[in-house]
């Protein structure tokens, strides 16, 4: 069987160093070969760099606002500037970090590998997605340096359309553009999964990561256009004063909320579901067990797709809508929580009678389980109508969503990054430091956000720069925790970059994991992913039928 190094990209230039094994990283060193790449793995790295940069910027805003909140008075920043801080923190984190992170980095890198394909269905569209994201990010950055925006990431009208004196239109335009990145990626992934699976890879043999990406893609495709058109209308209203959302012009401010949350609730599933996909892969590998309840988890993803679109009203319980619609949204919110519960239970059950090792990815999985559990359970608190009336728009909500998004998604993302790092770069990160960083992140996170549950119930509203004295102690705890959390994240960035140059070389499959990406190709993989198209004839996570001393020792090599 001859190996094909498929020369499909005349753009990528010649300077190929002749190593023992050429891989996607060495297939071209010019800037052009990166910025005009059609290789999904390189695009994944482009995303990795961008979302890390955005995370850093968003994190700085968070640090600044937590600094302000150390004292009850609004004394560090002008109130207008504080308002810009939390707005920019939210916009950057939501749209430029959390939504694109797992699909853009891990999804892009892994999907074709997990499917046994050479690339995604539309490589050029894939590159376009990244550029669209960059353009959208550029608009947002422009807005930051030219004065910021202070509407809150939710852009509620009529404040955003008629009252705010800040650069709403450029930001809204930037988000409009960025939305297309999400749509195109979703479209690409969905079609890839349908049409580019390797021989023998039936739907129920797919790794659950693929199911998660599939579900995410559907939500992206259906939901994102709605926020696009909503932001477009809000922007037009701001420019032309047309009166769709401003009551002074005949409009309805609550209509904006409906349209906004119709996307933004499913968006939170775009955020978390890919992270859940990662957990499937890591928990099975480090327990050496097949997943418990494969079909339940697969169908829970379908449940998310359907139910995520019918609960948006739980963000609007106190907005004056009818009691009956509130009831419907409440009961549906409880139902959608069941799908998360199924997954958490199944992951726990996967550990039963396993062989558990405590490598960093698995530590992040443990962290995820605990923190996502708390975050998800507090979602049940919020779904209770009488309770929500009290805590809506307080720090209780802030704590809830940070538990699921940071304690959940960011932990899962870090689990995935650590897990697939050797595959992506052929290097290991330093294990001792990585575990220490995980402990920092976990403890810092809890110290930051647990007090916020209490603050919220005590009545501290969101988006407040100043607050009554009695809230100070909890706020100080929260800020202190934030510094530990930030340190943890910084540490991760440092040692990961260090590992690129000085990390120990990893073998093809250092974790002894199942999966096409681990067992059928090198670390890092070649540009065309596989030297020969894999054929799949077993279920995923088939650890029970692997000999751990023998089966993971073979290495894929290109023959001469």
């Amino acid at each position: 069987m001859s190996a094909h190094v498929i020369d499909s990209k005349p753009l990528i230039e010649d300077k190929v160093e002749h190593k023992e094994q050429e891989n996607y990283l060495t297939a071209g060193y010019s800037l052009k070969s990166w910025l005009l790449t059609l290789d999904h793995k390189r695009i994944a790295l482009l995303y990795l760099i961008s979302i890390t940069a955005m995370f850093f910027v968003g994190g700085i805003f968070a640090a600044l606002l937590r600094l302000e909140l150390m004292t009850p008075q609004s004394d560090l920043f002008e109130p207008d500037n504080y308002n810009k801080l939390f707005t920019m923190h939210g916009i950057i984190m939501v749209f430029f970090f959390i939504i694109p992170a797992v699909p853009g980095v891990l999804g892009n890198f892994l999907l074709p590998l997990m499917l046994g394909a050479k690339d995604v269905a539309f490589p050029r569209l894939n590159l376009l997605s990244w550029y669209v994201y960059i353009v959208g990010a550029a608009f947002t950055m422009f807005t930051i340096v030219s004065g910021g925006v202070d509407t809150g990431w939710t852009f509620y009208t009529p404040y955003s359309t008629s009252s705010s004196q800040t650069h709403v239109v450029p930001v809204v335009l930037g988000l409009f553009i960025t939305g297309f990145s999400s749509i195109l990626t979703g479209l690409n992934f969905m079609v890839t999964i349908h049409r580019m699976r390797a021989p023998g890879l039936t739907w129920f043999r797919l790794p659950l990561m693929v199911w998660s990406i599939y579900a995410t893609s559907i939500i992206q495709i259906l939901g994102t256009p709605v926020i696009a058109v909503t932001l477009m209308m809000a922007g037009l209203e701001r420019i032309f004063r047309i009166g769709i959302f401003d009551p002074n012009l005949g409009g309805d401010p609550v209509l904006f909320q409906h349209l906004f949350w119709f996307y933004s609730h499913p968006a939170v599933y775009i955020m978390i579901v890919p992270g859940m996909g990662v957990i499937n892969e890591v928990v099975t590998c480090f327990s050496r067990r097949s997943i418990f309840g494969y079909r339940a988890i697969a169908f829970a993803n379908v449940g998310f797709v359907v139910f995520s679109f019918v609960v948006w009203g739980h963000h609007m319980i106190v907005s004056g809508q009818s009691v009956y619609s509130a009831l419907i949204f409440s009961i549906l919110s409880y139902l959608v929580g069941i799908f998360s519960a199924i997954k958490v239970f199944n992951w726990t059950a996967t550990m039963y009678k396993g062989s558990i090792s405590f490598d960093t990815p698995m530590l992040y999985v443990f962290g995820f389980q605990g923190l996502f559990l708390i975050g998800g359970l507090t979602g049940l608190f919020l779904a209770a109508l009488g309770f929500d009336v009290h805590v809506h728009d307080t720090y209780f909500v802030v704590a809830h969503f940070h538990y699921v998004m940071v304690g959940g998604l960011v932990m899962a993302f870090l689990a995935g990054i650590h897990f697939w790092w050797p595959k992506m770069f052929g290097r290991k990160y330093p294990e001792g430091i990585s575990k220490f960083a995980m402990i920092l992140i976990f403890s810092g996170f809890n110290l930051t956000f647990f007090p916020q549950f209490i603050l919220g119930y005590l009545g501290m509203p969101r988006r407040y720069a100043s607050y009554p004295d009695e809230f100070q102690v909890l706020n100080i705890m929260s800020t202190a925790g934030g510094s530990v959390l930030g340190l943890g994240f910084l540490l991760v960035g440092v040692y990961m970059v260090w590992s690129l140059f000085f990390g120990k070389e990893a073998g093809q499959n250092p974790w002894k994991a199942t999966g096409l990406e681990w067992e059928h190709t090198t670390s890092p993989p070649p540009t065309e992913n596989f030297y020969e198209t894999p054929v799949v004839n077993e279920d995923p996570y088939n650890y029970a039928n692997r000999d751990f001393l023998k089966d993971f020792n073979k290495e894929v090599k290109a023959s001469a």
């Binding site: 495709i221 709605v226 209308m233 004063r241 769709i244």
Partner: protein, 254 residues
């Protein structure tokens, strides 16, 4: 043990696909998924339209009657015929009749440009009549905002008429606001639609050039099919837009 068979390597086959059939299936699915996103996109605007029409039925009827229904109707026929010529293009492509393919594509393109041309004149007319929302919006420039009647004297607006007293000002201000909402939605929806038409025209030009270069054959003609799908979708959106925007309460006026 699958290695791509070089001998059957069709020039249009992208390297990450196994064969033309897989490529065709994939791109076909992609286009349908894309159209689903387009439905969600237009859907948001349609929703806003439905809500405001039910809130302000009178103002919307008056505003609608100020649109040029003949131009709209003409454009509707133009698009329907263009969908026919587009379907004929697809058929010709499948039958590998390149000559006919090019003819039908060009016909579709001409019809599409006709649509856009008519739209240009419509928009120009709205612009001249102060019907574009924003600072210069003034429905009363040509029409009575309460009754919708067209005014003969171009510069005599209802708000200038002293006879109705101060109440008319308050009343017509409200009506004007609601009418402006109609026109905002009108421009947003038809503007978005026209934008899609322009893209469609670009795609048609690309197809014509490709056809002239002999790129299409019995085995490989999916681009034509896919553009056809897109074109039909844009046509269907117009079929919804036209009655919703142009034909509100028209039966009153015969």
């Amino acid at each position: 043990m699958h290695s791509s068979d070089h001998s059957a390597h069709h020039p249009a086959l992208a390297h990450h696909f196994q064969d033309l059939e897989q490529q065709k299936d994939t791109t076909w699915l992609a286009m349908w998924v894309f159209l689903a996103t387009e439905i969600m996109f237009f859907g948001g605007l349609f929703l806003a339209y439905v809500i405001y029409r039910s809130s302000y039925p009178d103002a919307f009827a008056i505003a609608s009657n100020a649109l040029n229904v003949n131009m709209g109707l003409g454009n509707t026929f133009v698009l329907i015929i263009s969908s026919f010529t587009m379907a004929m293009s697809v058929y010709s492509a499948q039958m590998a009749q390149t000559g006919r393919l090019i003819v039908f594509l060009i016909l579709t393109l001409i019809l599409g440009c006709t649509f856009l041309g008519v739209k240009y004149f419509e928009y120009k007319d709205k612009f001249d009549s102060h019907l574009v929302p924003g600072r210069h919006f003034d429905f009363a420039y040509h029409h009575d905002p309460i009754t919708g009647a067209t005014l003969h004297n171009e510069h005599e607006g209802a708000s200038n008429k002293p006879s109705s007293g101060h109440e008319a000002t308050g009343h017509s201000k409200k009506a004007l606001r609601e009418i402006q909402i109609f026109f905002s939605l009108y421009f947003a929806m038809t503007g978005l639609h026209a934008f899609h038409m322009i893209i469609g025209a670009g795609l048609l030009i690309w197809l014509v050039i490709s056809a002239m270069k002999g790129k299409f054959s019995k085995e490989y003609n999916s681009p034509v099919e896919l553009v056809g799908l897109y074109w039909h979708f844009v046509d269907i959106v117009w079929i919804f837009l036209f009655p919703l925007l142009y034909l509100i309460g028209r039966h009153h006026h015969g």
